[in-house]
């Protein structure tokens, strides 16, 4: 179980990163995931340079594969970020969606 305290602490960063637009610096598609991400796999992860010049990692959702490239414009959205047991606190965090979506 991820500690609820950890989730609570990370939320402070998440709030600041939500709803920002940015540019994909690089990306990969994960086919062999860690144990907490198996049901989502395969999934695409992007490194994004945000409008405020910060960088952030997140999975890319709701995109068309033909649009996927370095330099694509994305916006940060709120999603569930990892699988946890039904008894656990739900970790919400940043993912990215193309601004065109």
């Amino acid at each position: 179980m991820i500690s609820p305290t950890k989730i609570w602490r990370r939320q402070k960063t998440t709030v600041k990163q939500l709803g920002l637009t940015g540019t994909v610096v690089t990306w990969t598609k994960i086919f062999v995931p860690s144990s907490e991400y198996t049901s989502l796999a395969p999934f695409t992860v992007v490194l994004v340079e945000l409008e405020n010049k910060d960088k952030a990692f997140g999975q890319l959702v709701d995109f068309d594969i033909k649009d996927l490239k370095i330099g694509m414009r994305v916006k940060s959205v709120l999603r569930r970020v990892r699988e946890v047991e039904r008894e656990d606190v739900i970790p919400y965090g940043i993912k990215f969606r193309p601004t065109s979506a």
Partner: protein
């Protein structure tokens, strides 16, 4: 005057066709589509839930407004599928929206009318001076047992409304609630899927409650059906709202803009409000809108809105936005709904 300052909505990208569900169970899709008047429904992704969709809708509602988010003194989250049984979604929503901490957070539950009840609560809070602005969000990732009649309609979506007293897009001219103990649909603690009373959800439930609430609000506001440019009735399927409209003297043209259920399914708490989001895309200043929700258990909240000139600057593109969609097959649907 108390009313709606702005609104936002969220429809997930994925759709499943009724044909695909029907064929799994050996049903003739045409029979299902004819009887429910629905072609496809919206499905949230595996990593989405009522809270994430509620955040999307609420973010849209708050975007472009010249307000201080700290002035929002109330966040009410209505859902039939909240992320937790115990632990409010309204605080998670408030946190991620950056509303500060000086607000009343509350989760409401009343089948598909949890959010319209929250609108009335918020009206009360504003009227009493407890807050000047209040956010109401209705959101559901509605699930149904496989092979249940509800599987064809239970859908995902969210709508959020910001209520206040100034700079309104919709004035609330009147409202009325009608409630009774009518167990037509329920889900007990620890049970995954809701149960329902089949045809019992019709006449003594949906029709009776909406008819009573709507009649009373018309009486209170001294209005008749022909006064309204648009009417919206809760949409458990495509058939019921048409029937209740006809029964109450509303024409097809008054309700047709609101009937998003045939394309999006029934997003439960967000269902009637989704009809409102569709109507607001075309509503003109001065027009009257009637909206009646229904929640099993049972009750109906009926509202009369008058559109103001502010609508033009806060209209949201609806029709075009829901065309951005991706079809999924039945097994992907089961995965996204966490059934497999």
């Amino acid at each position: 005057m108390i009313g709606i300052v702005s609104y936002g909505f969220y429809v997930p990208k994925f759709r499943i066709k009724i044909d695909d569900i029907a064929s799994v169970w050996g049903k003739n899709p045409e029979d299902i589509k004819r009887s429910l008047v629905i072609n496809e429904k919206a499905v949230a992704g595996l990593d989405e839930d009522s809270l994430t969709m509620g955040f999307e809708a609420s973010s849209m509602a708050l975007s472009g407004l010249k307000i201080d988010r700290n002035d929002i003194g109330s966040v009410l989250f209505g859902s039939e599928t909240p992320p937790y049984s115990v632990n409010p979604a309204s605080t998670i929503l408030g946190e991620f929206l950056g509303i500060g901490n000086n607000y009343l957070a509350s989760d409401t539950q009343f089948a598909c009318k949890a959010a319209t009840g929250a609108i009335i609560t918020t009206i009360g809070q504003i009227a009493s001076g407890a807050t000047s602005l209040g956010l109401v969000c209705g959101s559901d990732k509605a699930n149904a047992a496989t092979h249940d009649a509800l599987e064809y309609t239970a859908a995902s979506g969210s709508v959020a409304l910001l209520l206040g007293q100034e700079n309104l897009i919709l004035e609330i001219l009147g409202f009325h609630s009608y409630s009774s103990d009518t167990p037509d649909f329920w889900r007990r603690e620890g049970i995954r899927y809701p149960s329902h009373g089949g045809r019992f959800t019709g006449k003594p439930s949906y029709f009776r409650h909406i008819k009573e609430a709507t009649s009373k609000v018309l009486e209170k506001t001294k209005l008749v059906p022909s006064d309204f440019a648009h009417a919206i009735f809760h949409m458990p399927n495509g058939k019921f709202p048409r029937e209740i409209a006809r029964e109450m003297g509303f024409s097809e043209s008054q309700i047709e803009t609101s009937l998003v259920v045939s394309m999006l399914g029934n997003s439960y708490t967000a269902s009637a409000l989704m009809g409102l989001a569709s109507v607001l895309e075309v509503a003109k200043p001065g027009q009257l809108i009637l909206m009646s929700s229904y929640g099993s258990g049972a009750g109906s909240d009926s509202f009369v809105f008058r559109v103001t000139k502010n609508i033009d600057s806060r209209r949201r593109e609806f029709k075009k936005s829901i065309l951005k969609k991706e079809y999924i097959d039945y097994s992907t649907y089961l995965k996204f709904m966490n059934i497999i």
